[in-house]
């Protein structure tokens, strides 16, 4: 059998098979573990094998078209029926309405489609699809591995019996399959099915704990994403009316049957679906609410993969709207998202919400780059997509491990975490460092983004402001982890092996990929954009250079490695130096950070970070950022109408 077909089929069917096995055979923990590990390993192998075969195109065999078409319609119906069921069960008018709208749209659409013989688009595996497959399969598999001990702990802590893990892992694996399907297919109707399948998975996973809060947030996620679904259906209809085909590349390249207006309306509607999926303003509420879910859910769906769908899809559509007003509006909306989310993160003390806002912020940056729509901007967006996915997953997983240990998500409760969980604290610190500092990949992407967006004044001003805010909330968190007056020696704490494997692979992987970034860009990412946009960057002396800038990745990485070694040596020497308490006006008592207060009582030093609530608190900023988001959304849609 053709290996390309084999691996593609494995990538899509293995997760579905794994999901089914989990649900039906997963009663016993060891069987479940085996299924998850096997599916994960298979996905990783398939993704790497696909990398070797790329790029290629697979057309759907004519004999398979009819059965696939029917399966598609059945899947659509099943999904919409599921949404209607949940909408009715929880008596949520919004969900019912939006689902009915989608159903109506689909009915109209199929009515049109059956009257013309459009060939469905095939499977295209190019650099971008490969990248997404790698991210989904490898990062997704690692997250599922870590979820095994996490969920055991979670259920033991909440006294859940009988175990709901079969359903949990079933939905997680189903989601991986949906993601792989979304990035491999190029046909809008297939994309719609997978799009809605991810919405369903998100809904099921957010509400997994079945608490009142979880159900409420899951419903909110469902109705907001249904809004995206409605936009997707309408966009699909307009795209078909504009180009007469559902194949993605075809829709962009075909002559516009009804003039520019329909074409851009299609793009704008699909763009709005992406913005909803990626929780940009004013749709950020569902992502914030989704943080009540167990942390592997947050790591998988709400930071590395599902929310990246929006970015991935707009990257695919990007060659269709260079230099247009839609691009300008998108750039504004993206940079506004970057700035506003960074501001909101400054005012947050809940660790998972900080991570959520940081995700929205980075996604905004990626959208800003897509809006600017030049070769280097799109390259920056692709680079950010890859690195952010890996690092954010790692950060979420470590916060998950921390939260299970200290039973709190608040950053204030993580003060001095280094004393109780040194290795996890250090891994989180490393994650924060790789997120904001050179020479690592996310910063390379941010550098590329700023250089690419530099001519677009409003966007670059917002990005400059957002960048400074980003450093603030990350540095604050990093310092809080180490904030321990006794700063003792290192005794690694005990965690399940799978947790260390997941965290270690992600961390080391991110570092290795950062060093290799110039070659990844040259061989893997730049060729994606080369045909339409040319090549902006060249690899020179281990760094990336363009006509306007240079980033010496390899020399800086070497310098960073040397610096790390020197600093570690200094740290080692410091462990043997004389310890003194911190300066407390001479009133320090013998133990810990406490001082002799009134009546000679020992008073503990208490510290709390600046959260600047009155400037950056959610209550303060939300009305403004929602207004801003709504205005920009109107700009996007109104500009094309």
């Amino acid at each position: 059998m053709d290996p390309r077909v084999l691996w593609t089929v494995v990538l899509m069917l293995a997760p579905f098979a794994g999901a089914a096995s989990c649900v039906f055979l997963g009663r016993s923990p060891s069987a479940r573990r085996a299924v998850v590990l096997a599916t994960g390993a298979l996905l990783i192998a398939a993704a790497l094998a696909l990398l070797g075969e790329a790029p290629f195109r697979l057309e759907i065999h004519p004999g398979l078209r009819a059965p696939l078409g029917i399966t598609l319609m059945a899947a659509d119906a099943a999904l919409l029926a599921a949404f209607l069921y949940y909408g009715a069960k929880y008596r949520h008018a919004g969900i019912l309405l939006l689902t009915l709208l989608q159903a109506a749209g689909l009915a109209v659409f199929k009515g049109v489609l059956t009257h013309s013989a459009a060939a469905p688009g095939g499977i295209v595996v190019d650099g971008l699809a490969c990248l997404m497959v790698l991210v989904v399969s490898i990062v997704g598999a690692l997250i599922c591995f870590q979820a095994l001990p996490y969920m055991d702990n979670h259920e033991r802590h909440y006294g859940v019996s009988p175990s709901r893990q079969p359903r949990f892992f079933g939905v997680m694996l189903l989601f991986l399959g949906a993601m792989n399907g979304f990035v491999l297919f190029h046909d809008l109707s297939f994309l719609y099915v997978f799009f809605e399948l991810t919405t369903l998975c998100s809904f099921l996973l957010i509400g997994h704990d079945r608490t009142h809060l979880a159900v409420r947030n899951a419903l909110r996620a469902l109705w907001m994403n249904s809004l995206g679904g409605v936009a997707f259906v309408l966009g699909m209809i307009e795209a078909f009316r504009s180009s007469g085909t559902l194949d993605l590349a075809g829709a962009l390249a075909a002559p516009r049957l009804e003039g520019d207006a329909t074409y851009f309306v299609a793009l704008a509607l699909l763009g709005i679906a992406c913005l909803v999926k990626s929780a940009q303003f004013p749709f950020q509420g569902w992502l914030l609410g989704a943080m009540v879910a167990p942390t592997p859910v947050s790591a998988l769906l709400h930071s590395s993969t599902m929310v990246k769908i929006g970015v991935y899809f707009l990257l695919r559509l990007a060659p269709g709207f260079p230099g247009s007003f839609l691009g300008q509006a998108l750039a504004l909306a993206g940079s506004f998202g970057f700035l506003a989310a960074a501001g909101l993160a400054v005012g947050q003390s809940n660790g998972k919400k900080v991570l959520a806002y940081s995700t929205i912020s980075n996604l905004g940056l990626m959208f800003a780059c897509i809006g600017v729509n030049t070769g280097s901007a799109l390259l920056a967006a692709t680079l950010l997509l890859a690195f952010h996915a890996v690092l954010k997953a790692m950060l979420f997983l470590s916060v998950g491990a921390i939260e299970q240990h200290i039973e709190s998500r608040d950053i204030e409760d993580m003060r001095g975490l280094y004393t109780t969980m040194p290795l996890t604290a250090l891994i989180t610190l490393a994650g924060v460092v790789m997120m904001i500092l050179p020479p690592f990949g996310v910063l390379l992407g941010k550098w590329m983004a700023i250089e690419a967006v530099a001519r677009h004044l409003p966007a670059v001003v917002m990005i400059a402001l957002g960048s400074a805010l980003t450093v603030l909330y990350w540095a604050r968190w990093a310092g809080t982890l180490l904030s321990d007056p006794l700063g003792g020696r290192f005794h690694a704490e005990r965690q399940p092996a799978l947790t260390w494997i997941a965290l270690g692979s992600l961390g080391l992987g991110a570092a290795a990929l950062s060093v290799a970034a110039p070659w990844i860009v040259e061989r893997g990412l730049a060729p994606i954009w080369h045909p339409a946009y040319g090549t902006a960057y060249a690899v020179v002396a281990g760094g990336l250079e363009s006509a306007t800038g240079a980033f010496a990745v390899l020399p800086l990485s070497l310098a960073a490695a040397c610096g790390l070694a020197l600093s570690a040596f200094a740290l080692h020497r410091a462990f043997g130096a004389r310890r003194v308490p911190p300066y407390l006006s001479g009133l320090q008592t013998g133990e810990g950070a406490s001082f002799r207060g009134p009546l000679q009582q020992a008073v503990r030093v208490a510290a709390r970070n600046y959260y600047l609530d009155r400037l950056f608190g959610e209550d303060r900023l939300n009305p403004w950022v929602n207004l801003g988001g709504a205005i920009l959304l109107t700009l996007i849609l109104g500009g094309v109408l």
Binding site: V580, Y583, S585, G586, L587
Partner: protein, 149 residues
């Protein structure tokens, strides 16, 4: 190696950073000490910087007697100063308790709590005398200072 050590010792004398701690004085000595910082006496000519942080200081300048309440504070501050360091006790109270020696709440002199290197008598001593005392303290620092805990 020895040349390096001598070089660093010389640098110590050229850059003395002072911590001033009032152990319960009437502020007479404190005013004279602060007068040294003013343009008339300008001790910054000698590289002297007046700090509030023992972790950064070389010289501890004390005024006042010590009382049971702040003897622990004085000891803490002295312990928090990195070696090499020197102590200059300013004023009669710091030497022996001055006129308050027999009072019930007076410990009676800095050297009851920490080792003192230079005593500057007077009530209050003049700024010139204080500067002289500090310079003597510098000579002690340049000679290796006190490495004690």
């Amino acid at each position: 190696m020895r040349a390096l050590r001598r070089f660093i010792d010389r640098m110590r004398a050229k850059s003395p950073w002072l911590l001033h701690f009032d152990c319960g004085s009437c502020n007479g000595c404190d005013i004279e000490i602060l007068a040294c910082l003013t343009p008339i006496y300008d001790v910054e000519r000698f590289g002297i910087v007046h700090l509030g942080n023992p972790l950064h200081a070389d010289l501890l300048l004390t005024s006042g007697t010590v009382n049971p309440r702040n003897r622990k504070v004085l000891a803490n501050l002295y312990a928090q100063m990195p070696a090499p360091k020197a102590v200059v006790a300013v004023g009669a109270c710091g030497l022996s308790g001055g006129v308050f020696r027999d009072a019930y709440n007076v410990v009676g002199g800095i050297d009851r709590v920490i080792p003192v290197d230079v005593y500057v008598p007077g009530c209050p001593p003049r700024p010139e005398a204080i500067i002289d005392g500090v310079v003597l303290g510098l000579q002690k620092l340049a000679g290796g200072g006190r490495g004690g805990r």
